[in-house]
Amino acid sequence: MTKDEIRKLAIDILGGIAPEADFDMLEDDEELREALDLDSMDFLNFITGLHKATGADIPEADYAQLSSLQDVVAYLTAKTA
């Protein structure tokens, strides 16, 4: 997947979890949990969504590497390369 595709995918999944968010305002380096008001369950649903859509294995120990949009893109680019 390209970086743009991953970014789009991530935003689509987040849109199902926090549909009220204004994604045009979301900065790539903003902490997703804080910016979008995600609780632990929301965040887990986000990871599960990414896993289902990409097939990438995302172990719990890596969650800290997925805190912002740019983190997610970098992480999944490496995983799906």
């Binding site: 979890i17 632990s40 887990l44 719990e60 969650y63």
Partner: protein, 598 residues
Amino acid sequence: MSEEALSDSRPSVYPPIRKDREALRPRPNLFDYESECAAFSWDKARALLDGLPDGQGLNIAYEAVDRHASGAKGDKAALRWLGKAGERRDITYRELSEETSRFANALKCLGVEPGERVYVMMGRLPELYIAMLGALKAGCVASPLFSAFGPEPIAVRMQLGDGRVLVTTPRLYKRKVAGIRDQVPGLAHVLLVGEGEVEGDGLHRWDRTVEAASPQFTIRPTDPEDMALLHFTSGTTGRPKGAIHVHQAVVAHHVTGRYALDLHEDDVFWCTADPGWVTGTSYGIIAPLTNGVTSIVAEAEFDAETWFDILEQEKVSVWYTAPTAIRMMMRIGTDVAKGRDLSALRFMASVGEPLNPEAVVWGQEAFGMPFHDNWWQTETGGIMIANYAALDIRPGSMGRPMPGIEAAIVRKLDSGDVEVIDEPMVEGELALRRGWPSMMRGYLHEEERYRKSFAGDWYLTGDLAQRDSDGYFWFVGRADDVIKSAGHLIGPFEVESALIEHPAVAEAAVIGKPDPTLGEMVKAFVTLRPGHEASEAMRRELIGHARKKLGAAVAPKEIDFRENLPKTRSGKIMRRLLKARELGLPEGDISTLESDEK
């Protein structure tokens, strides 16, 4: 205790976890349960505290902070704050005393009177702790609000408690409070912590208001029965309830910290609960400080790796956490814990919802010690039933009552009284004999609801439980429709009300759907008004609507659409039936069902 004696216990595949109490170091504070219970009195527990100088009463903040600040613990770290960006800051008892005095003086300068309510809503920043304790020093009532609440729960709780002051951050103010300011006309002052420009009435910057105030403050005489804390909790119906606690509650905070958490003065203690809820106040602020330990405050939200780092690097010795977090850590596996030096850790406890036996036992595998589950509620103010360091654990049980606490399983009679069920392992409502110091003294402005939570001498908890023949209590379920998600009570009515405010929604019913990690998650069933179609776009619209109003912690995670909801003849939606169907359980008595689900 012999194996035969367990015959009346709940059959469990998990055998009891035995303790060799003689080998435990330091010696557990509650070493011999029976003799400690027999010798216990609340007067003796009160004598463990100092009281205000010259017999001027009892004040929580004095016991937690000032009495240590002027003594040998003055230079000891009271709070060790771990910031999100990796900051690490120790606040000594003396500094905490000065900072809380500044806050108390700032309130005085603003004309805030004793007894008035000071709300605190922010992430786990040092100022949160300073504001809560400083408000208590000033004789004000401290009321924490969870920062993940949306504007609506905030407005309702501030109205109920007649909030006069709010301490928050500019960011939270802009996002959640500015839009509801007109609904809380009594809110005179907002103290803003940190950077960010905000416009509005009665806004004050913390650095100009508090940091400029004098660090000397003498606590005025405080009656032990003066209102100190206001904690909100939810019932099935109606608005949230503001449970009132008084300064005397500190006697229970202190002694339960000693007994149930086994706090000793050299401990590094970490309570992971957010002070927006009662656990994070009673045990995240008060009990560790009255016991003179160093208390860890971690600003960041849960992340399993980070938490293991904290346990290891800060040499946490006593850890008080919650089932949801434990279950999330279990997903990483035991190896992560094993690769670390957790030799400082000696006692682990859990609260919020029943800890499943698998998780109790997982503690053994991962940390070499079990989790000690305990039970209490917003209304009880402190731990009531617990598994203790020196006692055997029955995995899945909430343990035995604290010394000084009489717990029973009761059955309601037609007369309105209750009768105690003595027979072991019979299900009934868990009840506590009234009279302990941290028992709520009322629901603010709701005398009738308060009265209804008692029958004679018994406080009725709303939890169904059983007691085995050895006095261990076992949680069965809630007696009402209140949802328990990640350890927090959520009232279905509050969620339903927010959903119905959406123009597309005709009816809504909200249940707690069992979830392996959260315990329960909030699920809504919704019928739509004519002209609106059930669709993914509508689902997103409603989830977004609910999140904006209620915040992530309260809003539903799942919405299902229905053409009709099951109702009784009087038109009451049968949540219980929706839940049974969701779980594939027997539907029970449906004789009152008039109009069924479609």
